[in-house]
Structures are given as C-alpha cells and as structure tokens.
C-alpha cells in the first residue's frame, strides 16, 4: 500500500489517466465478463436499436475508472465500496474513439476509510456520475 492517512487531505487529487478505447476493448471485455450483448460489438445491430454506434459496456467503464483508485492506493484489495450511476454511454466509432478520461479527488476521510470521488468523461460527455470508491487504508 502506498498511501498514508497522515498525508491525505480532503480535496487532494489522486491523479488522472486517459484510457484508449476501440472495438477490440469491448470484445475483450465481453469475453472476460461474459456480457455478449451485441450493442457492444456489432455496429449494425447497435444502430438498429437506435444507438449512434457501438457503445461500451457500462461495467467496463466502471471497472476502468476503478483502476485509477487501485493504483493510487497500491492494492486493489483495499477497495471496499464502489458505486456509480451510468449517465451516458462510451461511444466507439469504427475509426477510433475519443479516449476515456478518469480523475479522482478525496471526498471524505473517516478513520481508516477514505472516499474518492471519480470523474469519468469521454470528450465533453460525463459518462459516470456519483462515482464514489471507498478504500480501507488500515495498517495490517
């Protein structure tokens, strides 16, 4: 674990990262998760149900955003609570999509529990809202 309670303050940034997305990202996630809904990999099908193009799995976005928290705390097993609302899909055009941008700020510190609020956007579009991850930073 890399963070120490004495060094943390509410409002501190935990950093940011840009995560590239393309069709292969979602084919890979479909295989890993077992969610093979064709809106995530078949453009013709996605458009036939009124979507602008293929869209990413919300759960991919949620998982990708959490990796920022895991890397900051230095141990993914420390994430004890994690919740999001899906506010917009990640849209994946054939010729390359705008990457997912993720950043996080410390929202609350209560004893050994640190809550981080995440912001996840694709271009100007906020794709997650109320994204909050709580990590346990207790000594073990």
């Amino acid at each position: 674990m890399t963070v120490k309670a004495s060094e943390l303050n509410v409002g501190d940034s935990i950093g940011s990262r840009e995560i590239p997305v393309d069709r292969a990202t979602f084919v890979r996630y479909a295989g890993a998760s077992g969610d093979f809904n064709p809106i995530h990999w078949d453009e013709k099908f996605a458009m036939s149900v009124g979507l602008p193009s293929v869209i990413g799995h919300g759960m991919w976005t949620m998982g990708a955003a959490s990796s920022l928290v895991s890397e900051w705390v230095g141990d993914a097993g420390r994430v004890v609570e994690y919740g999001v609302r899906f506010s917009a899909p990640v849209v994946v055009e054939y010729d390359g999509a705008t990457p997912l941008s993720v950043s996080g700020v410390i929202k609350k510190i209560e004893g050994d529990r640190v809550a981080v609020e995440l912001t996840a956007t694709q271009g100007e579009t906020k794709v997650l809202s109320r994204a909050l991850a709580t990590v346990d930073i207790s000594e073990r």
């Binding site: 674990m1 759960m59 949620m62 990796s67 609570e81 999001v84 899906f86 073990r140």
Partner: protein
C-alpha cells in the same frame, strides 16, 4: 409493457457454484486496464496477506449478472431485455474475492417503480462463499425504456 410491480421482494434461485480462477482474474483485470500486480502475481498477492491473486473491484459483476439473469427472464416480471439499460451499480465488499474462492450468488428484486414512462428495477444480489460467508453485496438498477 411495464415491469410487474408484484415481483418486488421475489428472490431467485442461487447460481451454481462459481469458482474464481487465476486465469479469469487476470483476463478481467487486463480487459479493464487494471495493472495492479495483485491481480496476476501470486507471490505479490501473498506478500500482502492474501491467499491468492485478488479480483478487481468490479469482478463480482460476473456472478452477479449470472444471478440477475434469473430475474430478467422471469416471465412474470415482464422485463424486456431489448429495452434494458444499465442505470446504477454498486459493490460492498466484505472482503476481496481471491482465486480459489468457491462462491454463489442469489438475486432479489428489491424495487420496481415507474418513472417517466420507463420502469426502474432495483436488484440486490448477495454473493457468499458456498459455506455461507458473505463476500459481496451488489446493487444494480436497470431501466427498461418505455415504448414511445
């Protein structure tokens, strides 16, 4: 067709035993861009006190969605999968999932409500070890878009 509110409180049968594997943990971590070696390096995971490699925080969605499927296909619930959109998701981990865990999951429809022509269905899934130890509580809200 709106979702039938009478299914509120209904609990569906648990999924068959799901065994968390090192390969699946590493595959899932790679798919979401999680580079923490705790997902793939057994010695590193053990040095941190875990029994084996640790699953990423959202990995529990795999057994959770398998359990939710029973609610989604329940003809009495009337959930039109083709109009389903994922609204919210949250995980409360009692402890991390690690490779070797033998778990099960069961979904309860917690709430059905109408909102602006759509139906919102809240499903709660309890993930436990096969011995009954609570591992993770999963909360999922799906929106079934109304017909225009």
């Amino acid at each position: 067709m709106a979702v039938n509110p009478e299914v509120e409180g209904r609990t569906y049968p648990a999924i068959p035993t799901y065994v968390v594997s090192r390969v699946k943990v590493a595959e899932f971590a790679k798919a979401v861009g999680a580079t923490d070696p705790v997902h793939s390096d057994v010695e590193h995971a053990r040095s941190l006190g875990y029994a084996d490699v640790v699953a990423p925080p959202t990995f529990a969605v795999i057994p959770a969605q398998q359990a939710e499927a029973a609610a989604i296909v329940d003809p009495e619930a009337g959930i039109d999968f083709s109009r389903l959109v994922h609204g919210e998701e949250s995980f409360t981990h009692h402890r991390p999932l690690v490779a070797g865990d033998e778990i099960t999951a069961a979904t309860t429809i917690d709430r059905v409500r109408a909102a602006g022509g759509h139906s919102m269905v809240t499903m709660k899934t309890a993930i436990t070890t096969v011995a009954g130890e609570p591992v993770c509580d999963v909360n999922c809200v799906v929106v079934i878009r109304g017909e225009q």
